[in-house]
Symmetry: none
Subunit: 413 residues, 2 copies
């Protein structure tokens, strides 16, 4: 079963709002074994909407239209679908009574334009909306079942769960989908891709894809089968195979972040962490504390942005800074060691570098970063050159991911 | 001039990721006077991509395709566009050398599959990518100019600004549009909207709109005219009028953040700031240090996530924490005062609260936050209830924005 989604609204095509409805619908449909092949977003224009509805209903089994069902002049979905079907609009007195009752229950001000919301293309069936003022409707059209629901995310979601999903079940849309995502760090997309190239070829019983975002590589496995257990088994089979091939490059699954993965490793060891940050300026601590429950392993961060603060908060010898500069292997080492001792932690990470765009020199260019990792076993400092072409935000982000991965690698032994 | 956007990727059609590229592109195009009429998202399928490219290039003047330019098997945009154009792929030795040089500069591991990224449909022109490994390309196709760029948001944005936009200017498309954005904080969207409702009516010589994102309200003024100076004059006229009506609610313009605006105020006063963070866990320091040059006013942050760290790093009396709890007016005050003294700062901000989702109680629910502001004049602590319905990320974000605005208001007198 193939689905296509149509989003209506000039606020979406003009980029004034990000459309989150389609991603939500596609993932809900996938969970029911329906593959979404295509999304289209069009302006509030009657002919354009009618054209997209006609096109989608000739290509897919299920078409869901969101938006354009309100009471105002720019809400044209009802009229456009009527055009596409070649029928007129008809007012449904029973639906009109429901809409008025909704207004009365909430003491909302009734406007005559709201009566439009009880008009539907002839031959279609209204879908009740208990969560807002705009009812939806459904119709058989071409090879497809067409559902039109409001674009308000909460109303759309409730109507999907309570009206569309039961109908898809009644239609006997069988099958199931299982999705697994492996989160990876430590090698480029191409290198990881070569190791699993054979699994990404068309014609297999799963779909495997790779995406990269700021150094984090995600491998996604989508499996479809007749029964949920069968789909899960196929997806799990690939997840095991890919995990074996990529080894420790895989740090987690689904919504894991590098910080949550490192946090889980710290927790399992009973270790407590502190950080000392210069160039990352609080970002490293922020990534750890983004994760609920991080207080069981994250103690503190000394964000020592000024040279003076390195001495005041951490006790770094000011002569080290004077002799080698704040961005140096020596200061990175002193920050990590002092942080470990002062916080009474089991591990300490320290960052010092030049995030740019200013402050670089021939000797110490933008992108030069030292990362220190101190434990009871000693202190390791590594130098990185992330590249002066990167933005300040990217250099800070990569510094944090690299620091997290240094600690992860250490924890994995 | 009409634009259409095509996003490539099964992760998008399957709902595994939300497409933010199209909204960004549409708003940037709108700023150049180009109207985006339609977005399409398709799976990583060669024939489907080719079909959408052919369709869009026959309907629009500008078509921008994002995604599918990586080095792996599922990156099919180059091949699909070649199919649509009826040409073969050609390897460009000069581009290959650039891509290899990018790998060498960053000491990345070269794989033979990366060479694919230097292959383009015959007759198209490569677009250099200085921010990643995948070059883009452009072509005249049907009535349209077609641009293909990577789907990685950062690379796509840089390539739009540095390659697509200059070409649109050369084509005489991006002409006399002036845009001003006023950034505001401290009142709701509806309340600000009421004060400037008459300026948002249709039929004026500018377009004024309001959007809200996590408490930051942005007022956008778009002016179109025959000549650039004329458009600029119209936009500036509205910016002056709106600034006068909204007063101190306006904290900045264009890409200013609340942290950059506060940083500028600190700089102009010669003040230096330190922060002491519990529930915000480094985010407040991160927001200040996101801004290049922040080292002239931002000294340090003591991210005292554990109770012990509040004593170790700041010297907060542990009896205060035992008696009132870490989330209390008393501890917020002690953190701010200790931070001011220890850092030798002119102002100190402290945060302590319950960011959730766990850790709340009837007495101290999720969303309860104390913010302290200490200066030589004394220490003010305010209590906020951001609401238990908000996510951990939203509560942390709002805590930081509110703290920043407390300091801004103080600095403005």
């Amino acid at each position: 079963m193939i689905a296509e989604l149509i989003s209506i609204g000039t606020e979406l095509t003009a980029g004034l709002a990000v459309d989150t409805n389609t991603a939500w619908l596609a993932s809900r449909l996938a969970a029911c074994g329906v593959e979404t092949r295509r999304h289209v977003t069009v302006t509030d224009e009657r002919a354009a909407i009618a054209e997209e509805v006609a096109r989608a209903t000739s290509a897919a089994d299920i078409v869901i239209v969101t938006g354009g069902l309100g009471p105002t002049e720019d809400d044209l979905t009802r009229q456009a679908v009527a055009d596409a079907l070649g029928v007129d609009l008809e007012r449904h007195p029973a639906v009109l009574a429901q809409v008025r009752a909704f207004f009365d229950r909430r003491a909302l001000n009734w406007m005559e334009s709201n009566a439009r919301q009880a008009e539907f293309p002839a031959g279609t069936t209204p879908i009740q909306n208990d969560w807002g003022t705009a009812p939806g409707f459904r119709a058989r059209f071409g090879r497809a079942v067409l559902f039109c629901v409001p674009g308000v995310p909460r109303e759309m979601r409730e109507m999907f769960e309570h009206a569309i999903l039961p109908e898809l079940r009644d239609l006997g849309i069988a099958g199931a989908t299982a999705i697994r995502t492996l989160r990876c760090f430590g090698a480029g997309e191409a290198r990881m891709g070569e190791r699993i190239a054979d699994l990404m070829c068309p014609g297999r019983d799963t779909t495997v894809g790779i995406t990269a975002d700021e150094g984090i590589i995600s491998v996604r496995i989508i499996a479809r089968a007749a029964a949920p257990e069968e789909a899960a088994a196929l997806a799990d089979r690939d997840a095991v195979e890919i995990s074996a091939r990529l080894g420790n490059l895989v740090f987690g699954r689904e919504n894991d972040t590098l910080a949550s993965a490192v946090g889980a490793l710290l927790r399992s060891r009973g270790w407590r962490l502190a950080t000392a940050e210069s160039c990352t300026g609080g970002l490293l601590a922020k990534l750890f504390t983004d994760v609920p429950g991080s207080s069981d392993h994250f103690l503190c961060s000394a964000v020592t942005y000024s040279d003076q603060a390195k001495t005041d908060l951490l006790g770094v010898d000011p002569r080290l800074v004077a002799e080698h500069g704040a961005v140096s292997e020596q200061v990175g080492r002193a920050m990590a060691a002092a942080c470990l001792a002062r916080a009474g932690a089991d591990a300490a990470l320290a960052t010092t570098g030049i995030a740019g765009p200013g402050g670089g020199s021939a000797e110490k260019p933008v992108g030069l970063v030292y990362i220190g990792l101190a434990t009871a076993a000693g202190c390791e400092v590594r130098q990185f050159q992330f590249g002066a072409h990167l933005s300040r935000a990217s250099i800070r982000q990569r510094t944090c991911l690299t620091a997290l991965n240094m600690l992860r690698t250490r924890l994995l032994g």
